[in-house]
């Protein structure tokens, strides 16, 4: 592994642009650093250990899902009145995680935030895997899983359409669109890098497979031209999705009339929360990955610093949303809504609420301190806590609102079962399995893009930006 001296690029100096890549990286060394991770004949033992654990957990997830399908939803903790439980909490959680990827890859791209290049591949992969994890839950939590395709609007012999007024249907459309666009975007951006891997491949299999997925990329000017246009267009397509997907997910709740769900603030509040949790997940993954794979010069401290600022910003948004919710509950004068929030803060699920507030609003305030933003272990810890907090947020919204709605006679508590726990833990297994495979076989950093942001003396001839 080439040792690249690590410099500090987090200092704000208005007189110069902070370098986006550190050390003496040049075109060749970038290629070398990124490709050799995927080219090692066998990864280190620790990869195998991590992979084994993840696969085992994934197995647990599928075993739990299998048991669920065979036995019925009753194996979960769901009940009356809490008809939705952990699966929907997990679903919203994972969908939220996905948002940072699209934000970084699409929105930051459109805004010409060139620092995104070293982390976008990574974040996009995370998006995709998170959407995959999220997709498991709504599908398996329905009562008759074998008929779940009835949610799709397809012409059928029953001559029946789904109910287009149902937010769940919007959900199906939003999530599947999101999944498709994210996958396309990720793949499209990876084509030049796949070609690099193909060209460097030594074994026949690698040549074949990378070659197949590189779609005959030769790096000609025409190809680059078309590539960049396509990328730009997809970025433009993906950008509204960042806002729309979680807005639609929030409609699942906002459109219903359950006190605590039925609020107009939900769409922006959910989007902010989603980006918040997604950035936290990026940091959670990037901190160990950059150290482990020797990518510190590409994924620099400035990147992490920026992500942490994003976390801080979105944390403030989320905190503001919490405040507004409580204010509106009081100001709106609706007895049921006022109770829903009093119940959240002081009722039987108060511990969850305050855990959520602590993790999402109080802890991220540490990022005002520069040292916290630039110290890997501190930011890792904070990011993990934010993830916990965001999971709790969905738990609080779903469970505490459903547990006590209008008629006190029907109030109830939710108690998760082992299957619930297994499915949550297993979804992390699935996520990390996919992520570890990604690290093992695909270019973790967008080489072609990073090369474009190398210092001018070491980079390619000044790039002509597309516009």
């Amino acid at each position: 592994m080439t040792a690249i001296p690590v410099d500090d690029n987090t200092v704000q100096d208005p007189t110069r642009r902070a370098p986006l890549v550190l050390g003496d990286a040049d075109l060749a060394s970038v290629t070398q650093t990124v490709c050799e991770i995927a080219e090692r004949p066998r990864p280190p033992t620790s990869w195998y250990v991590a992979f084994a654990v993840s696969v085992a957990l994934t197995g647990g997830l599928f075993a739990a899902v299998g048991y669920l399908i065979v036995t019925g939803i009753g194996v979960l903790g769901n009940n009356s009145p809490v008809y939705w439980g952990w699966p929907i909490v997990n679903f919203v959680f994972w969908i939220g995680i996905g948002h940072a990827g699209t934000l970084i890859s699409a929105i930051l791209f459109l805004f010409r935030q060139r620092w995104r290049t070293s982390i976008n591949r990574f974040a996009e992969a995370m998006t995709l895997f998170a959407v995959a994890c999220a997709g498991v839950f709504p599908a398996v939590h329905v009562g008759r899983i074998w008929l779940v395709y009835w949610l799709a609007p397809y012409p059928n012999q029953m001559d029946l359409w789904p109910n287009f007024r149902s937010p769940l249907l919007w959900d199906v459309v939003a999530i599947s669109t999101y999944g498709t666009v994210s996958a396309l975007f990720w793949y499209l951006g990876m084509i030049p890098d796949l070609a690099t891997l193909r060209d460097r491949a030594t074994s026949r299999w690698r040549q074949l497979l990378y070659g197949l997925f590189a779609l005959g990329w030769r790096g000609s000017a025409t190809q680059w031209h078309r590539f960049e246009w396509a990328y730009l267009l997809l970025a433009a397509l993906a950008t509204p999705l960042v806002l729309s997907v979680h807005s639609v997910v929030s409609f699942d709740f906002a459109v219903a009339q359950v006190p605590g769900w039925h609020t107009t603030i939900f769409p922006p509040y959910f989007v902010a929360g989603a980006i918040f949790s997604g950035c936290a997940m990026v940091v959670t993954l990037a901190v160990p990955a950059r150290a482990y794979f020797g990518l510190k010069s590409l994924i620099t401290m400035r990147h992490l610093d920026n992500m942490n600022k994003l976390i801080l910003g979105t944390s403030l948004l989320v905190g503001y949303a919490y405040g507004v919710e409580v204010f509106m509950a009081w100001y709106g004068g609706n007895m049921y809504e006022a109770f829903a929030f009093a119940n959240r803060a002081l009722g039987p699920y108060a511990w969850a609420y305050w855990l959520m507030v602590t993790c999402n609003v109080i802890v991220p305030q540490l990022f005002w301190i520069r040292k916290c933003r630039t110290t890997p272990w501190i930011m890792f810890l904070i990011a993990v806590l934010v993830n916990v907090g965001m999971w709790m947020e969905r738990f609080v919204i779903i469970v505490s609102s459903l547990g006590r709605d209008f008629l006190p006679s029907s109030w109830g508590m939710f108690k998760p079962t082992a299957v619930d726990v297994m499915m949550l833990v297993g979804s992390f297994g699935l996520f990390f399995t996919l992520f570890l495979l990604f690290c093992r076989y695909l270019p973790m950093v967008a080489m072609a893009e990073v090369k474009a942001v190398l210092p001018p003396d070491r980079g390619p001839a000044p790039a002509v930006e597309v516009d």
Partner: protein, 1022 residues
């Protein structure tokens, strides 16, 4: 050898000389051995391939063969029988020494629904929950299926013939000994045929003895009447004629044999709209349905009630002798009640419960006489009792146990009942039974007693057998079989007839059960040649057969002490009160899942019984809610969970009988089959000396937690929840005092104020029928019969305690119970909650697959086979009346033994699979049936023609269903009138969901004298 043979022998191989000879015998042998060889042509290659292909295919299909069932058409259709067409027959359900008239719907020969007989004075079309659940008992796969012998090494199933053969020898011997050593034990009954057979039995066996025991009986009533009038009499109330009713530990609306009738009369006389309302006072130790319905309730220990009564008697008589001065609230209550009773002389009724001693009963008789309440057209009357000359049940069972212990019983025939389980504990009846040489037990189940007896005989269910009964008021009904005995059981009448036949040494039975019943009817009831028989069968009762009210002398009896006896004073020991359970009765219905899963009306407990303690007593004793405690009476001790119950009298513990069965079945508990008992058996604490109330009880907390099954956990709740609940109660249950209602008739409309409601989308246009419901909270007494009726009508599964604890009970209709006011004197309100069939239904908007949609008639339809089970609809339902099949709740039906349980299903209603949502549909199957019938007849549907299952069963008529559209002549339906009532309000109407079910605000009629000084009891919400 012939040339042909020569040719054969050279052309082919041969195996034996026979083959070579090819004799006919060999051919026959060969054909039998190898049938294929019989085909002279053999099998062609093509045919062989076909056959092999087919067998391979069929071999694969063996796993998915259906059970073979034969369908045979009626070669000759029985008269009046159309396959699939429901038919209705009358019968009656005996319970104790009373009965309810029923009308049973059968489809293709199997009973599927039980309704009350509208002609029957004790039913008037309603039933209690026990009658509703009788259907499940009929088809209970745990019912005993054969005669069983248990004697030394000989054990196991036998046939009826084997039993009869064995018994005939005994009968011979007994007959010669004139019945010495022969005893019969029956449960309480009111069957004239059984009485006739009883008399004949005593003629055949003059030295035999006959006992009658029932754990829930009328011992104290009879003894009280003897004290007052010198003979046992039955007290009757005419609640429709009473302006003021005082109930002392009595529950005429709930645990009373005539409760259905009383509830109807009570509700009829509680019509706020007509400005005519009675006033009900209750003084009781444990909250009962009557206590919950009362305008004023005083929680008093059962042992203090005689003292209360003594004071009341003094005040009413104006004697001024109050003994030791009672506490202030009691004094105030007595004064108010006495004044009210005196003001309504001749229009009031005082009634007392079976738990109170004979002296107290006598005092009540005196009080009613003093208040001139007794007589024709007055609220109180007396009639004869069945079996006036028998000893009390307690004495009877004690005498029988003594006989056995004295070795004077050689043969004991037990017709029904379960004395090993429920006889007084000090008699150790099960132990005593071992001393009987031959004991025979006739029972629906192989229960605790059956397992201790030599012979067990399967009993036929009342829906399977002929019989006759007199209801509480004496009305005679014939019990008609609706179906042939499913498990070959016989009724007590049949068994007794067999015994008598054996005594007569008759080869052929003298008469079948129908003949016996009919004979009794002709000879003793109708006194004719059977002219009224068919009419009686058809009507379900013999008209005008109720017992006449007797004229009674001035009641006497000892005067009650105004101060409680020593050791029963206020700060003395605890008292323990045994209660009839609202669902399992004395334990006989313990294996009935519908009843076990029906929440107790007041505690909301399911699948459990608990010791009910007042909050104050629990605090004093250091007992936490839902922890185990030990209860000690004398040297007997049990452990049972505690349930802190508002409204329970301080220092009084109430326990329900009928739980902790060890040989009930797979529902109620069967230790032999490793099925844990449901609840705790409290009979071990019940001795002959104190069958209803025990004093000097020692109680210890153990602190060990025990989770009780409960569907509406209201008590253990955090402060926020409690406050939230109190805050919204006024708008959920709208109520006012009669006085307030008179001044503000539209008060219910002003409980919630909201801005104008606007719809987001185009609303449904309704033309034609607009089905709707109205539920009168003033009438609802919370008995829960509607819940079981709904369960029976709509094939609703039971889920078991664990699933109830997880919040997955499936009842489509539930009765919410709310408390308000002080914990020690709470006011109770009930609110039945079926699907409200919102016109702008929130569930419909969110279902992604359009599985729940609106019908043109305004029903919120549920399409089970379209539902994928996202459960979004249930989340969005503000009433939480949707129920989800979290698991396959019909899984038990896969067991071949449970095949019979499938017969209980209403063929008109889908049995839902796992993973789908279900809910109340206003009994859409009944609506459709009525529509078809009306269409065939070419007429419009009449108002009241369609009645939902809950409506039909409701004893108080609190539920009204009908069409909001006016009929062709512009007449308004009942439900439309109620929707226009000033008391009508839509629950959560401010959500703009427009429920089709409306509630009529609850009106109470408190006594201003008591109300004024009790600020907690503000009768109307702010």
């Amino acid at each position: 050898m012939s040339s042909v043979d020569e040719q054969r022998s050279t052309e082919s191989w041969w195996r034996s000389l026979e083959q070579l000879a090819d004799t006919p015998r060999f051919r026959a042998l060969l054909d039998a051995e190898f049938p294929a060889e019989a085909d002279p042509g053999g099998i062609s290659r093509r045919r062989w391939l076909q056959l092999m292909g087919a067998s391979l295919a069929l071999a694969g299909a063996t796993g998915c063969r259906w059970q073979e069932q034969e369908i045979r058409p009626f070669a000759k259709r029985p008269d009046g029988r159309v396959p699939g067409k429901p038919r209705r027959f009358t019968t009656a359900m005996p319970l104790g020494d009373a009965a309810i008239g029923l009308e049973v719907t059968t489809v293709d020969g199997r009973p599927v629904k039980i309704e009350g007989n509208p002609r029957h004075p004790q039913s008037l079309g309603a039933t209690d929950l026990l009658a509703q659940a009788a259907l499940l008992e009929l088809y209970d796969p745990d019912r005993s299926r054969n005669v069983c012998l248990r004697s030394g090494k000989e054990k196991g199933p036998r046939s009826w013939d084997e039993f009869l053969a064995a018994f005939r020898q005994q009968a011979d011997r007994l007959h010669k000994a004139e019945g010495a050593g022969f005893c019969v034990l029956t449960e309480a009954h009111s069957s004239p045929t059984l009485d006739a057979l009883h008399a004949e039995f005593l003629r055949s066996f003059p030295k035999a003895r006959w006992f009658e025991f029932d754990p829930i009986g009328d011992d104290h009533q009879r003894a009280g009447a003897v004290l007052a009038f010198g003979r046992p009499l039955r007290t009757h109330l005419a609640l429709d004629a009473s302006q003021v009713v005082l109930c002392l530990d009595a529950d005429p609306l709930g645990a009373h044999p005539a409760a259905l009738r009383y509830a109807r009369d009570f509700a009829a006389h509680r019509n706020a709209t007509a400005g005519q309302m009675n006033r009900l006072y209750a003084v009781e130790s444990s909250l009962s349905l009557t206590g919950a319905a009362a305008d004023h309730r005083l929680a008093l220990r059962s042992t203090e009630i005689p003292a209360f009564l003594a004071i009341l008697e003094s005040v009413v008589a104006g004697s001024g002798d109050l003994g030791e001065a009672p506490s202030e609230p009691v004094r105030r209550f007595v004064d108010a009640v006495a004044k009210d009773l005196l003001d309504n002389r001749g229009r009031g009724a005082v009634c007392i419960g079976p738990g109170q001693a004979a002296e107290a009963h006598a005092a009540v008789h005196r009080l009613n006489a003093l208040l001139e309440n007794v007589g024709e057209d007055r609220p109180v009357g007396y009639t004869r009792v069945p079996h006036p000359n028998r000893p009390s049940h307690t004495e009877a069972i004690k005498a029988l146990a003594d006989e056995i212990r004295a070795g004077r019983v050689g043969t004991l025939l037990i017709l029904g009942g379960n004395p090993v389980y429920n006889a007084p504990a000090d008699l150790a009846f099960g132990e005593a039974l071992q001393a009987v040489e031959t004991s025979v037990h006739l029972s629906l189940y192989r229960d605790e007693t059956s397992r201790q007896c030599t012979w067990h005989l399967p009993r036929s269910h009342f829906l399977e057998s002929w019989g006759d009964v007199c209801s509480y008021d004496g009305t005679y009904s014939v019990v008609q079989p609706m179906i042939a005995p499913l498990f070959g059981g016989r009724s007590p009448i049949e068994v007794l007839a067999v015994v008598l036949d054996a005594a007569r040494e008759a080869k052929q039975p003298a008469a079948g059960p129908e003949e016996l019943v009919r004979r009794t009817f002709c000879q003793e009831i109708a006194h004719d040649e059977g002219a009224a028989w068919r009419q009686t069968l058809r009507d379900g009762l013999l008209a005008e057969s109720r017992w006449p009210w007797e004229t009674v002398s001035a009641p006497g009896g000892p005067k009650l002490e105004a101060t409680p006896a020593e050791g029963e004073s206020k700060d003395g020991g605890l008292e323990l009160v045994f209660c009839r359970d609202a669902s399992v009765y004395d334990g006989r219905f313990a294996n009935n899942g519908w009843l076990q899963e029906l929440p107790d009306p007041l505690t909301r407990l399911v699948w459990d019984n608990a010791a009910l303690l007042s909050p104050a007593t629990a605090a004093e004793l250091g007992i936490e809610n839902e922890t185990l405690m030990t209860i000690e009476v004398g040297d007997r001790q049990i452990r049972m969970p505690a349930w802190v119950m508002p409204g329970q009298a301080r220092g009084s513990i109430a326990v329900s009988l009928g739980y902790g069965r060890t040989a009930a079945g797979h529902i109620g508990g069967d230790t032999a089959d490793n099925v844990a008992a449901v609840g705790v058996d409290v009979y071990p604490l019940r001795g002959t000396s104190a069958m209803t109330v025990v004093t000097g009880v020692k109680v210890e907390p153990t602190g060990e937690p025990y989770r009780l099954g409960n569907t509406q956990d209201h008590h253990a709740i955090d402060t926020v929840g409690r406050r939230g609940r109190q805050q919204r109660l006024g708008s959920l249950i709208r109520q006012a005092t009669l006085e307030h209602y008179r001044q503000h008739p539209d008060f219910a409309k002003h409980a919630v104020h909201h801005p104008d409601l606007k719809s987001l989308w185009r609303e449904h246009a309704f033309a034609g029928h607009r089905w709707a419901m109205a539920i009168d909270l003033s009438r609802c007494i919370g008995c829960g019969a509607c819940v079981v009726a709904c369960q029976a009508e709509n094939n609703i599964p039971i889920v078991g305690k664990q699933q109830v604890l997880r919040g997955r009970a499936m009842h489509w209709l539930r009765v919410d119970r709310y408390f308000r006011g002080r914990e020690d004197a709470p006011e109770v309100a009930f609110q039945p909650l079926p699907c409200q069939q919102c016109e702008l239904a929130p569930c419909e908007q969110v279902c992604p697959v359009a599985a729940t949609v609106h019908s043109r008639e305004g029903l919120n339809d549920m399409v089970y086979n379209r539902c994928v089970g996202t459960r979004y609809c249930a989340n969005n339902c503000p009433y939480k009346v949707r129920r989800f099949n979290y698991l396959d709740f019909h899984k038990d039906l896969e067991d071949p033994d449970n095949e019979v349980a499938k017969m209980k299903y209403n063929p008109e209603v889908t049995v839902r699979s796992r993973g789908v949502m279900e809910k109340c549909t206003y009994c859409v199957q009944r609506i459709q049936a009525a529509k078809i019938e009306a269409k065939n007849a070419g007429r419009a549907i009449r108002d009241g023609e369609i009645r939902t299952a809950c409506q039909q069963v409701c004893p108080t008529g609190a539920i009204v269903f009908g069409d909001l559209a006016e009929d062709e002549d512009g007449r308004e339906s009942d439900v439309l009138k109620l929707h226009g009532s000033d008391r009508a309000y839509a629950l959560l109407g401010e959500l703009n969901i427009r429920p089709r079910t409306i509630y009529l605000a609850r009106i109470r009629n408190p006594n201003p004298q008591l109300e004024a000084t009790d600020p907690e009891h503000d009768g109307h919400p702010g």
